[in-house]
Every structure is written in C-alpha cells, then in structure tokens.
C-alpha cells in the first residue's frame, strides 16, 4: 500500500493590509502555482475602493493575473468569518502571515493568526519569512513521532518537497527522556547511552517503513535525526538550529484552549516562537478531494 499525502487543491490566504501583505500574497501565489491549486484570497471587513486599489497594485507589481485568484470579502468577526469562509469554499490549506514571536501583551488578547490555528479544521501554513523575491524551500523538517497521524504528515511533506523542489528532508523523531535512564553517574551515563541506541534503532525501523511507503522514488535526500527532549519544543529548536525553510507537524489531537497557552506543551512551543515557516497538517477525510 502506498501512503497518499494530504492533497492541497484549494489554497487560501487572508488579506490584511499589514507591511507584509504584499510579500505574503507573492509567497502564497507561488505556493499555489507549485501545487497546481486554486488560490483564494479572503478578506474580513469592508472591502473599500482603497482596498481594491491597493490589491490591484499588488497584483500588478507582482505580475499576477487577477483572474487566477478568487477574492472573497465578508464582514464580521475576523476569526469566525475566516473559518466560515474556509468551510464554505472547502479550503484545504490556509496560509497566514504570522508574527515570529508572540508579544508578551498579546498572550492574552492573542493575534488573529494564532487564534485561528487553535481552532482551524484545515491545514495551516504559517509564513514567517515571506518575500517578494522567489526563494526556494531547500530544507524541510518534519516530525516523526510515534503517532497515528505521522505517516500521513510525512507523506505530505514528501509530496510538498517534490512540488517545491526541496533538496533535503529531515525526519526529526522526538523521543521522551523519561524512557531512558538519568545520567546520575558514570555507570548511568553509559546505561543511558546504550538504552538510547536501542530506542533509536527501533525508531529507525519504524520511520524507514513509513518512508518506504511514501518516498520510494523521490529525488530528495532524506535523513533522520533522533533527538531526546521535550516534545514540540525540541523539533522547533532543531528546525531553527538547522535553518530549515519549512517545519511540518501533525495537527493537535485536542483543541487547544486557554490553559494550554499557560502550561505550554507540544504545538504550543512551536506557536509561541515560530522557528520558520510552519505547516500544520490537518487530517480530515471530509476535505479530501483526491
């Protein structure tokens, strides 16, 4: 059986008129073109003439044909309406420009982008390094957790890498430090090393199986890295340290609430301090077209 990736045929972005708007537009358009997907631009608020003018200017400067994009505008609460628009148009992937770091005073008021990714039912792409000039996605880091969602997430990143011309894919397997001995003294350190080697071997076999199913004939260089550390944080730090261009992770199992922001875990570590562009792969059969 070959693993199929999550397919992205309808890609949407939200249009705000921030300093990064133009770069985001350019970036999402490039992505949609690579995927061969239909691009949607959503706007929440009153679509004034001024907006239309700026929007047209952007498209002109970026040399994008206006008819290639479907523009939808709606009034109402940004978060709610954006999610409604996604549902109405059966969007697969929502790409948003995001702040690299949440500001301390925004932790409680929460920026729209972060709020949406807590509630979204579509895959989410958070862009941190949008640029008008084209830049290729050279290195992708994807999570290799022992989780039912992981095979599909890896398959998606392989497919994505193929489309984006990626050269290197690193599967980062985060392992809990609780499963191995604590390095209390020399003897324990050795024991820890031995245990970690055993676990890494088992994990290697598991990931190898997934890769065989989905990356048999791809040209990318695929490697694995087993890292012991806190789940979520570790992969985020790794992506940053390795200068990855894209980090692909599983969607959260539960809806993230207010408490999760205070007692950070897993995905919250990544959202709190985005290391690079992040794709959160959502697994829903309902939105699958292929």
């Amino acid at each position: 059986m070959k693993l199929t990736s999550q397919q992205y045929v309808r890609v949407a972005t939200a249009m705000g008129f921030s300093p990064m708007a133009k770069a985001n537009l350019a970036e999402v358009h490039r992505i949609a073109t690579h995927f061969g997907a239909q691009m949607y631009v959503f706007h929440v608020g009153i679509w004034t003439e001024q907006c239309q003018k700026t929007y047209n200017n952007f498209l002109e400067e970026l040399k994008i044909a206006p008819e290639s994009i479907i523009l939808k505008s709606k009034e109402g609460h940004p978060k709610v309406e954006l999610l409604n628009l996604c549902n109405e148009h059966q969007i697969d992937l929502l790409a948003l420009g995001a702040l690299i770091r949440e500001k301390i005073f925004k932790v409680f008021s929460a920026s729209i982008a972060r709020d949406i990714c807590r509630n979204a039912k579509v895959s989410l792409l958070l862009l941190t390094h949008s640029s008008v000039k084209p830049q290729t996605c050279e290195r992708i880091v994807v999570n290799g957790l022992d989780h039912e969602k992981t095979p599909k997430t890896i398959a998606t990143s392989v497919w994505l890498g193929d489309k984006l011309g990626t050269k290197e894919l690193i599967v980062v397997d985060e392992l809990s430090e609780k499963s191995i001995a604590r390095a209390d003294d020399d003897k324990a350190t050795l024991q820890r090393l031995r245990q970690s080697r055993q676990i890494e071997k088992a994990e290697h076999n598991r990931i190898e199986e997934i890769l065989e199913l989905c990356a048999g004939d791809c040209s990318m260089e695929i490697s694995e890295q087993h890292v012991f550390g806190k789940k979520g944080y570790t992969i985020s730090h790794y992506a940053k340290a390795k200068r990855a261009d894209l980090l692909v992770v599983n969607s959260p199992d539960t809806r993230l609430g207010f408490l999760d922001r205070i007692f950070k875990h897993d995905l919250e570590y990544i959202l709190a301090d985005l290391p690079t562009d992040v794709l959160i792969v959502h697994h829903t059969k309902a939105h699958q077209h292929a």
């Binding site: 690299i100 290729t136 890292v227 550390g229």
Partner: protein, 742 residues
C-alpha cells in the same frame, strides 16, 4: 589510570590506603567535630556522634567516592539558631527539640534525594552562594572570638553586635582573674599557631594536622599547669564536657514542637543548608578526585538523609559532606569510600578510649580553631577574584553577605537571588525575555555524527534555567566531542560561565572536548572569562562595534595564536569594508550580512578567513546565523564562475537557476559533488585531475566562484576553532593547487 573497584572488592584492594587516609582525617575531624558542637551550642559529644554515624552509614549508602561526612560549618550556625529559638533560653531543652528537627530534616533530605533534587545547589547564583558562605564564616567568627579570649557567654546573639562587642570583651581582660587570662593566652596563642603553621619549616611537625597540634598543646598546658600549680589550671567551665555515662544519658529527641512553625522553620533551614553545603562539597570533590569519578549526588543526598536522621535519634548533629576534611582525605591517598568508614570507626574508638583526654581540652583552643575556620570561610583574598569576574558580582557577594548577617541564612540567599536577577535585568536589558522564557525549555542536544554532539541554547542562559542546560550536559559521555552553540543566546551569566568552565575541564580530562562557540559577538561585562556576556537582541547593527577594543573570548585567543603560527594577521573586529569583500558572492544575497568578526588575513591578502553574522529574508532581524568562510582571490589565473557543493545550499540562489549541472566524468567526484556553472569548458579546464584528487580526499566544502574570487565554507553554523583551522588549511592547499597549474 586504573580506577579502584567498588564495593567489597574495592575494599580488599585498597583498605590499606584508605585506612591511612581515614586515620589522618580522623585526627583532623576529632577536634573540629568537638569545636563544631561547641559552635552549635550542643554538648561536645553531638558533633562526634555525627562524624561516627556519617562515616559508617554514608560510606555504605553514599554515591560519592572520596568525600568525608560529619558535622558541618554552615550547619553549626543553623543548629545554634534552632537550639536558641526552640529552647527559649534553656539550651538543654532547646538541644533535645533541635534533635527532633534534625531527625525531620534527615527525612526531608532523603525525600530530596529520592525526587532527584540534587540539582538544587546549582540553582543558586555563584556570587550569592559565596556571599552566604562568607557570612557563615563571620557568624562563627563573631561568636567564637569571644570564647577564644575567655568570655564564654557574650551578651548579644546576632553577629554584627557580637563583632562590635569583641572590644568590650577585650576590655574585661584588664580586670579578669588568672583563669580568664590563662584561657585568653591559650586561645590567642592557638590562633597565632594556626595562622603561622603553614610557615613552619619543620617537616615532622606537618605529619600531624594543625588543629590536632593545637588541641594536644592545649591539653599539655592544662595537664602540666595542673601538676605545677597543684590546682586545676582551667576550671571545669573552660573544659570540654563529655560525661562518663554519656551512653546511658541518652534520651529520645523531643518532638513536642512538631506542630509549631518554629520547629518546621528549623527543620527546613537545616535541610536547606545541609543540602547546599553537601552538594557544593560533593561537586568540589568530583574535581579533586584523582580518578575523576562522577558522584551520584541524589544517592548521596539519600544517604546523608538517613545518616542525619539516625544521628539525630542518637543525639548527634546533622551529617553533611564537608570539603575541608574531604580534601585532607584525598591528599592523604584515599581511594574509595572506605576511608570515610575508617574515619568514623576511628573516632568511635577515640571516644571510647580517650574520653579522659578529650575532657582536658580547653574551650578557648577549640574556639581558636573555629575562629580560624570562620576566617577561612570569609577568605578575604577571594574579594579581588570576584571583582575580576565583574564589579556587579562583588556587589552581589557583599549584598548577600550583609543580607545573611542581618536576616539569617535562608532570607539572605533568597535576597541574594533576587538581587542577582535585578542586576541582570539592568545589565542585559532583557527583563521581558527573562520573565517569559525562564521556565520554558531552551536547550537542544543532538548527535550530529557518532560521538559528536551539538548542544544549542536558545533565548538566554542564566542561573534560573541552568538546571536544564546541566541535565543536557550531564547526559553526554565526557569522552565525546561537543559543540555548545550560543549563537542564538542573548546573554550568558557569570554563574553559567563558571559551571561551563568546570564542564570544559571535565571533558578535557576524559578525552573529549567541549567547545563554546557563538560567544564572540557578545560584549563581555568585564575582562574576566567568566563575566556576564550579553548582546543586544534588538537590532542587527546595534552591537556592531560595541565590543571592539574589549577583551578577546577564549576562541578568539586561540584564533589569534593560530594566526601567528600561520603567519597571518588577526583582527577580532574588522571594519565595515570587509563586509563588501564577502558580500560580492551570490550566496550573500539571501544571507544579509549584519556583522563580521574574527578576520584572518594572509600577507598577500589573497586569502582571508572571516566569520560572518547574517540574517535571512526581509524584515527579519531576530534570526541571525553565524558562519565561518574563506575568500580566495587567485592571481594571474582565469577563474570560471561556478558553484560546488553537495547539492544543497547553492540551489537556494535563484539567479543561478537554469545553470546546468556539469559532470566531470570522474565517478567518485560526480557522486559526491554537485558542480554547476555556465562555461562548461572553462570549468573542466579549471578542475584538473590533481585538483579533483585533492577535493576527493577532503571533507566536502562548499564553494562559490564569481569569476574574481572564490568563497569557501564548511557548514552553515558557527565553526569551532578546530573547524576554522581545518577550513583555512584546506583553502590554503586548494589555493596552491589552482595557482600551481597555471
């Protein structure tokens, strides 16, 4: 070196060496244990019980190797406070209640060890701990200086008034009786002897430790004096009191106060100080251990807990690991824990057979030993050392010292921590960052290659999040090669720098290495290698030249030495013109240069090696990257435009897209490298067989040629000194190859 075996085998193998060391230690421990009982306000036997129980139990249950356990200096201060406050004036009642608190604190210590809080001692800022230890020294000295000159019960209880009162105690000597005068002479004489002992050149005298000399000489004075004068030279109130029936006088500790706050306050203080004193000593001894064994601190804490509880039940003081006696142990050739065991057993023998002798020890002599110990703890020579690390560290040291003297040990160290934090807020300006990230994970450790680890530290590294860094460092085998990358760290404080220095030493001793990189672009707050290092996180160019003219980091020192060896010119903070020289390459279109550091320049300026700090993308200034590279400007040869790498990095440069891959026909080369360029002929001419053979025999370096110069680099991260050297020598050889052929 052959490491001594553990357990019974180790005992059989090393018992002679351990017995000798244990014997010498017991000679030191005997007077000190009695003296510390005196300082604690407890009966003389209490300290001896702690030494015996500590030696016997911890030697069996402990997790460290050459440490000695018994009554401790810091504990004396806390115990005295507990006895006075719990007894409400009645010292004996207070003693039995304090014993209850000691038993409880033993249980608490055991729990600390069980839940692995051995990391606790590392949580405190170095200067604050030093300040607290110095304050303990002053507290002991303040009280005992009175006893030393014969005033057995000075009026004040708190240290600062006690110090002032010392002069009035001196005054009382004017109209004191002969006994009082004698004791003052013995006390001051003992102190002078202790101070001068290290300067005495007579070798045989050094066979016996100084405290024992003091005690022996004082006992001799008492015995001879008594015989000559025909009456008691010193009255019973000036002598150590160990009743003949001390064993039958035993009674259960008094737990009646267990519901009161004062009882628990005493128990918690005892636990806290016992764990800090022990953990610092264990850590210190790990460095002194001739066999470089690593102690299991949590196991040791559990053992100390059990020993403390048992000692308390038997009427003894808290058992802690003590550094002074432990280092005597090591310098006398101790090999395993049995030395501690022998020391305990020997003290038990002394109590049983030399009790008569022990009761002849005059208190002023013991007080002199304590005054000397207190002075050693204060150690005024450390002031200038602390000031070298940073004046703010000296301020924190004295702040904690006075806070401890005024408000007690626990409040003192807590205030010291708070002050350290505030000073860090001011110096680094990273208040918000510290508040937000101190409880989040900030370290990443992964094995890049077999036995080669990368440890990356995010945000900042100070005493608050040090336990996380420590647990990562501890998990790496010390024979491994580790690169600790601080390039995305905004500041590193003095406490962490000091701990790291210890780790660098430990890795080197075990055949590994720990390289600290990414600290160069931080401006040190002082010229000391352990000073606070910080860099501004706000803008890319804000810290451009602020560090110029200040001291070189460890890595920079090594690089400048390397430059001299290679006949190159080294500049730590090159000026802006060098940016342009590097900027000419396409690679840097996407990696905007913020700063250049560590420039190595060939005499002909044909070869430069430089470290650049770059950022990627637009509007992003936070995400900076360090990398080292070499720029070659070959003379007199035609240089084609090309890129050479392992099919990764240069693909990112979109302006080169469409340029074809070039195969040179050599299988080995084509498989390993990806060569791209426009002018295939010129490139094939350039890469002649000799050049190919050279490249094939070296690690893969990335190269970009723009027709005028060649950019060479290894990895897109900070380079360690070794990697830097490797790159320079590679570039130099490569340069010779390509120039030679034309």
């Amino acid at each position: 070196m052959h490491k001594p075996k553990n357990g019974f085998k180790g005992f059989v193998e090393n018992w002679q060496a351990d017995l000798k060391a244990g014997f010498v230690v017991s000679l030191v421990a005997l007077p000190i244990s009695i003296a510390l009982s005196l300082a604690s306000g407890a009966p003389a036997i209490a300290g001896l019980i702690a030494a015996v129980i500590g030696g016997i139990l911890v030697a069996h249950l402990g997790g460290s190797y050459v440490t000695i356990t018994g009554p401790g200096n810091g504990l004396a201060v806390v115990t005295l406070a507990a006895i006075t406050s719990l007894g409400g004036g009645d010292m004996l009642a207070g003693y039995y209640m304090a014993l209850g608190a000691i038993v409880v604190s033993g249980i608490l210590l055991f729990i600390l060890g069980t839940i692995r809080l051995g990391v606790l001692a590392d949580l405190f800022p170095t200067s604050a701990v030093q300040g607290m230890l110095a304050a303990i020294g002053i507290i002991i000295l303040a009280k005992q200086s009175h006893v030393m000159i014969g005033t057995l019960d000075p009026e004040s209880g708190s240290p600062i008034p006690l110090l002032i009162e010392f002069f009035s105690s001196l005054e009382t000597l004017m109209w004191a009786d002969t006994e009082h005068l004698r004791s003052a002479i013995v006390g001051i004489g003992s102190l002078l002897f202790l101070i001068g002992f290290s300067k005495i050149r007579v070798r045989w005298m050094h066979a016996v430790p100084a405290p024992l000399w003091v005690v022996v000489l004082a006992v001799l004075a008492q015995v001879i004096g008594t015989n000559v004068t025909g009456e008691s030279f010193f009255g019973p109130k000036y002598l150590v009191n160990i009743p003949a029936d001390w064993m039958s006088a035993w009674r259960l500790p008094d737990f009646s106060g267990i519901q009161s706050g004062a009882f628990w306050g005493a128990a918690v203080s005892l636990t806290f100080i016992a764990s800090i004193e022990s953990l610092l000593s264990i850590k210190g001894m790990d460095r002194l251990d001739p066999y470089k064994r690593k102690s299991n601190v949590n196991k040791d804490l559990r053992a100390l807990g059990i020993a403390t509880a048992v000692s308390g039940l038997l009427g003894g003081l808290s058992v802690v690991t003590v550094i002074a006696r432990s280092s005597v142990n090591v310098s006398n050739g101790a090999k395993t824990r049995s030395a501690n065991f022998f020391h305990g057993i020997l003290i038990l023998i002394f109590i049983l057979f030399l009790r008569e002798m022990l009761t002849q020890i005059p208190l002023p002599a013991l007080a002199a030993i304590l005054v000397y110990t207190g002075y050693k703890l204060l150690n005024p020579s450390q002031f200038s050392k602390i000031a070298q690390v940073g004046l703010e560290q000296l301020f924190l040291f004295f702040f904690t010292l006075f806070a401890t003297l005024l408000y007690g040990l626990i409040s003192g160290i807590v205030l010291g921590m708070a002050a350290t934090l505030i000073v860090q807020f001011i110096i680094t300006g990273a208040t918000m960052e510290i508040v937000r990230y101190f409880n989040r994970p900030n370290t990443l450790l992964y094995e890049e290659e077999e036995n080669k680890y990368i440890l990356s530290i995010n945000y900042f590294a100070n005493f608050l999040n040090y336990p996380r860094l420590k647990s990562k460092l501890d998990s790496i085998p010390t024979s491994a090669v580790v690169i600790a990358d601080f390039s995305s760290t905004s500041f590193v404080d003095a406490t962490v720098m000091e701990h790291l220095a210890g780790y660098v030493e430990s890795f080197e001793q075990h055949g590994g290495s720990l390289d600290l990189v990414g600290l160069d672009s931080m401006a040190p707050a002082s010229s000391h290698p352990l000073g606070v290092q910080s860099k501004s996180t706000r803008g890319s160019n804000v810290f451009q030249k602020q560090s110029a003219g200040t001291r070189l980091s460890n890595k920079q020192e090594k690089l400048s030495k390397f430059a001299v060896l290679e006949g190159m010119k080294y500049t730590a903070w090159p000026d802006l013109t060098w940016d342009e020289k590097v900027n000419q390459f396409d690679y840097f279109r996407h990696h905007r240069i913020d700063q250049t550091i560590n420039l190595l320049e060939d005499r002909t300026s044909r070869l430069i090696a430089i470290e650049v700090v770059t950022h990627i993308g637009e509007f992003t200034m936070l995400d900076s990257q360090h990398m080292a590279c070499v720029v070659l400007q070959p003379e007199g040869i035609s240089l084609p435009k090309f890129t050479l790498d392992r099919e990764r990095i240069f693909g990112r440069i979109s302006s080169l897209a469409g340029i074809q891959d070039i195969e040179l026909g050599s299988d080995q080369f084509d498989r390993r490298f990806n060569l791209k360029g426009e002018d295939e002929k010129a490139i094939k001419r350039f890469f002649n067989p000799e050049c190919l053979a050279f490249l094939a025999s070296h690690p893969v370096f990335h190269m970009e040629s723009n027709g005028k110069a060649i950019l060479i680099f290894h990895k897109e991260r900070v380079a360690s000194v070794a990697e830097f050297k490797l790159m320079v020598s590679f570039a130099r050889d490569f340069y010779q190859r390509i120039c030679a052929k034309s």
